[in-house]
């Protein structure tokens, strides 16, 4: 009897695992059953067979490449089947608005009121516009396809990068498996957002650089041209990624110099990236300084405050007050995952010291691995956790290499049982990363569309968004964050819910202060949305159906204060009302 090949086995398992994940999400949208166990079972069915096969000695390099591609696409599928047919992650809605702006206006750099910096880095949306226009597709369909391509690019690039540096396809495959434990891998970097495109391109640049180094003189120029094109594409796509690339090439240049590497120093790549980033900063995106400056300054200040005994942030707690607490078991799994990574990194660092003491990339990865654990400490500082989270996804590239190296040093020639344990440890780290990278209550889908008596009904914020799209005459809308983001796309209406101007406080306050109405008029808001749901400012959770009447409400005055002005109340769905500020008597 012919043995079944491993690619067939893992492909089948991944498909069935994805189906389980999709069923778990569908049941979660049905609101009646707890489907968490089915979801995690499906996820394990995707990753465990692939991880196990990647630990084997027998698989060919081509098969390992197939396995990592399958891994990357199947895990992207987990995100894609969560809320099919419409974007639901807060940043996705803002990026989709920008993509729609480009298609409507036929030009880049149209304003984006919610996150203005997005319109200054239009690489993702510009690229998406090609599929939207040529394929007559929505931003959801085009964006999902584009990010899938980027995700596939990422895993291939990681595999080739790790393989070239280590000379081992086995280590490369394992390192890609470890990389899926990045807290942002499953959801954050799978969303329709600029980093989901720029990060894969950054890894391709690194992979192309090591190919250039390894390719001899005949191909140096070719790889250099490819690197140049890719850097030129990264710079208008994402600010942090271009700066991270400058730092990476800068660190490599220093290592080349210190180690006396007998090859051309990579400083010109750092200089080229820096020059392009600066040109872009001053020519198109000078608001980046105002956007990133306070974030980084607060992160530094917050870190010092926390280190000197100031209020520390509790782990597994979302900044949103409406977020439920993560269960103890999930916290435990996440912490165990970090411990697995730390143990692997410990052995890996020794292996780097022993086997690659004069290899700049290996040493850079070792530094990054150590740096990753420092970024975990930033998670304790309220003002710095996001900075630590973002830095971590770049540093994790190095950590993945080091952990895989450590694992192979320890268990490289181990038998089937040990390999099974290794695959289980990798799965633990991956699941732990997924838990720490995305709110526990948001791992599974929530009901935003539902079937009732054979027809489709939608959540209250989505219904308001549909109504605005279909009926409401032109005019800017002030709305709580969740309502505002849903209105952004596909309606392409300007809706804002932030604090600059302070729309958030105007809409949430019980009494109408003297300054509030004039401020709305000064900012040319024609309409406003009053939402009694206390979850409305939470753009992650505020877009779904409420279940079993389980919702905290603001007092009725939040709505009535507008009826007393009086202003016209054009739309009323119970908790959500839309008023027209202009044209009142």
């Amino acid at each position: 009897m012919t043995a079944v090949s491993w690619p067939a086995r893992t492909f089948c398992a991944a498909g069935v695992g994805l189906l389980l994940v999709s069923l778990a999400n569908a049941l979660a949208r049905g609101t009646e059953t707890t489907t968490t166990a089915i979801y995690w079972l499906g996820l394990l069915l995707i990753v465990l067979p692939i991880f196990y096969r990647l630990t084997s000695r027998e698989a060919s390099a081509a098969e390992r490449l197939f396995q990592v591609c399958l891994l990357g696409l199947a895990l992207y599928g987990v995100k894609a089947v969560r809320d099919s047919l419409l974007f639901t992650f807060p940043d996705e809605l803002v990026h989709a608005y920008s993509a729609g702006q480009i298609v409507d206006a036929h030009h880049l750099f149209e304003s984006n009121p919610n996150i203005p910096i997005i319109s200054r880095y239009p690489g993702l949306e510009g690229a998406t516009s090609s599929l939207m226009l040529l394929g007559d597709a929505s931003s959801y369909v085009a964006g999902t396809i584009l990010v899938a391509a980027a995700k596939l690019t990422l895993v291939i690039a990681l595999f080739l990068l790790f393989g070239r540096i280590s000379g081992s396809a086995r280590l490369a495959g394992l390192a890609v498996a470890v990389y899926t434990a990045t807290p942002n891998f499953l959801f954050f970097n799978a969303q329709f957002s600029y980093e989901s495109l720029s990060l894969p391109l950054l890894v391709v640049v690194l992979a192309a650089f090591v190919e250039r180094e390894a390719g001899g003189t005949t191909r140096t120029g070719s790889w250099t041209v490819a690197i140049g094109i890719l850097i030129a594409a990264i710079v208008p796509t994402h600010h942090l990624t271009s700066y991270a690339l400058v730092i990476l090439f800068g660190a490599l240049a220093i290592l080349y110099r210190v180690l006396g590497v007998p090859r051309a120093n990579p400083w010109p790549f750092a200089a080229f990236t820096l020059a392009l980033a600066l040109v872009w900063l001053f020519a198109a995106a000078h608001s980046t300084v105002d956007y990133l400056g306070p974030v980084l300054t607060d992160a530094v200040k917050g870190s010092f405050e926390t280190a000197s005994g100031g209020g520390a942030r509790k782990l597994f707690e979302s900044p949103a007050s409406t977020a439920p607490v993560t269960p103890v078991l999930a916290r435990l799994i996440s912490l165990l995952g970090v411990m697995v990574l730390a143990a692997g990194a410990g052995f890996g660092l020794l292996a780097v010291w022993r086997h690659f003491p004069r290899r700049p990339f290996a040493l850079l990865f070792a530094l990054a691995a150590v740096g990753f654990f420092f970024t975990l400490l930033l998670r304790f500082a309220p003002a710095a956790w996001e900075t630590g989270n973002r830095a971590g996804e770049f540093l994790f590239i190095g950590l993945a290499f080091v952990v895989a190296l450590g694992a192979l040093q320890l268990f490289g020639s181990a038998g089937r049982l040990i390999r099974t344990g290794l695959a289980a440890a990798l799965a633990l780290a991956m699941v732990g990363g997924a838990i720490s990278g995305w709110p526990w209550d948001q791992q599974l889908a929530q009901p935003i569309r539902a079937e009732a008596h054979g027809d489709e009904i939608v959540s209250e914020p989505l219904a308001a968004s549909h109504w605005v799209s279909e009926y409401l005459p032109e005019g800017k809308i002030a709305a709580p964050e969740a309502d505002a983001r849903l209105i952004l796309t596909p309606t392409q209406r300007e809706a804002y819910g932030g604090t600059n101007p302070d729309v958030h406080d105007i809409l949430a306050s019980v009494e109408l202060e003297d300054w509030q109405l004039p401020q709305l008029e000064d900012e040319n808001y024609r309409y406003l949305i009053a939402d009694r749901r206390q979850i409305a400012p939470d753009s992650v959770r505020g877009i779904y159906f409420t279940v079993d009447g389980n919702v905290e409400l603001y007092g009725r005055q939040v709505v009535r204060k507008w009826t007393r002005v009086p202003v016209a109340r054009l739309y009323n769905s119970g908790r959500i009302s839309l008023f027209e500020v202009e044209g009142r008597p």
């Binding site: 189906l19 894609a80 040529l134 597709a137 690039a157 490819a226 008596h453 209250e460 409420t546 908790r575």
Partner: protein
């Protein structure tokens, strides 16, 4: 392009995909044509043009095909932004076609003489059991996508009804709509004040997901005054369920 079968195929595919994407009346067909045109062909021929005679091996070719295609899309949108007409379907089609044809021409020049494949092509012929497992996995993945798109019953989700009113600019008419997102069919009574001291009543039942719209002529005496629409549910006929209001312009008087 003679002798370079892959480049010739890429050029033909680019022309066909461009025409189909731009001319197809069916969005799904246009999208199927747009995907290779945007995400595969530019990167493939650009890689061939950049590397010329000594092209990379298959994995690196695959990587550069994807990555350079994405880069072309990013940089292409910047280029189109400053071209007359801006970013449109036609300009994208022309740009991608030019990138593919020009890169293929450059690749053909740099590759001379034509590459001849020295290795016999391997034909993929999976064993029956392998094929069955691939089929099961593929069907399951398709099933996952289908399941994700089907709205499911969420009987615990809180239903609601929305009432809206939009008067015309001249204040002579008003459109009023009621859309049900309730879990069950619901019966309503709508009262719209169309004259200073009286109004119109409508009774109707809506299925979940159904919308009912009415147009009302408004009495000119209402000019400059407030017009109100009130919705009642039959199950609680005395209690106003939803109310919307609007101010009519003075000019209609």
């Amino acid at each position: 392009m003679r002798g370079h079968r892959d480049l010739g195929f890429a050029c033909t595919a680019a022309i066909v995909c461009t025409l189909v994407a731009l001319l197809s009346p069916l969005p799904s067909i246009a999208l199927i044509a747009a995907i290779p045109l945007a995400l595969v062909l530019p990167g493939y021929v650009l890689t061939a043009a950049i590397f010329g005679r000594s092209g990379p091996d298959a994995p690196r070719q695959a990587l550069l095909t994807l990555a350079l295609s994405l880069a072309v899309l990013v940089l292409g949108s910047l280029l189109l932004n400053y071209m007359p007409g801006g970013i449109r379907a036609l300009s994208w089609g022309i740009l991608l076609l030019v990138v593919v044809l020009a890169s293929a021409r450059l690749a053909a020049i740099r590759r001379r003489p034509p590459r001849k494949s020295s290795r016999p092509r391997r034909r993929l012929s999976p064993a029956p059991l392998d094929a069955a497992l691939f089929a099961v996995g593929g069907l399951a993945a398709v099933g996952a996508i289908v399941v994700a798109q089907i709205p499911v019953t969420a009987s615990n989700a809180d239903g609601f009804t929305a009432l809206w009113m939009l008067p015309s600019q001249d204040g002579e008419r008003a459109r009023v709509g009621i859309s049900s997102n309730e879990q069950e069919p619901t019966s309503y009574r709508l009262y719209v004040r169309t004259e200073p001291d009286s109004g119109v009543v409508k009774r109707f039942t809506l299925e979940p997901g159904e919308e009912q719209r009415f147009k009302f002529a408004l009495d000119p005496d209402l000019a400059g005054r407030r017009v109100t629409a009130s919705l009642y549910r039959d199950e609680k006929p005395q209690r106003v369920y939803r109310r919307v209001t609007s101010w009519l312009p003075d000019e209609a008087r």
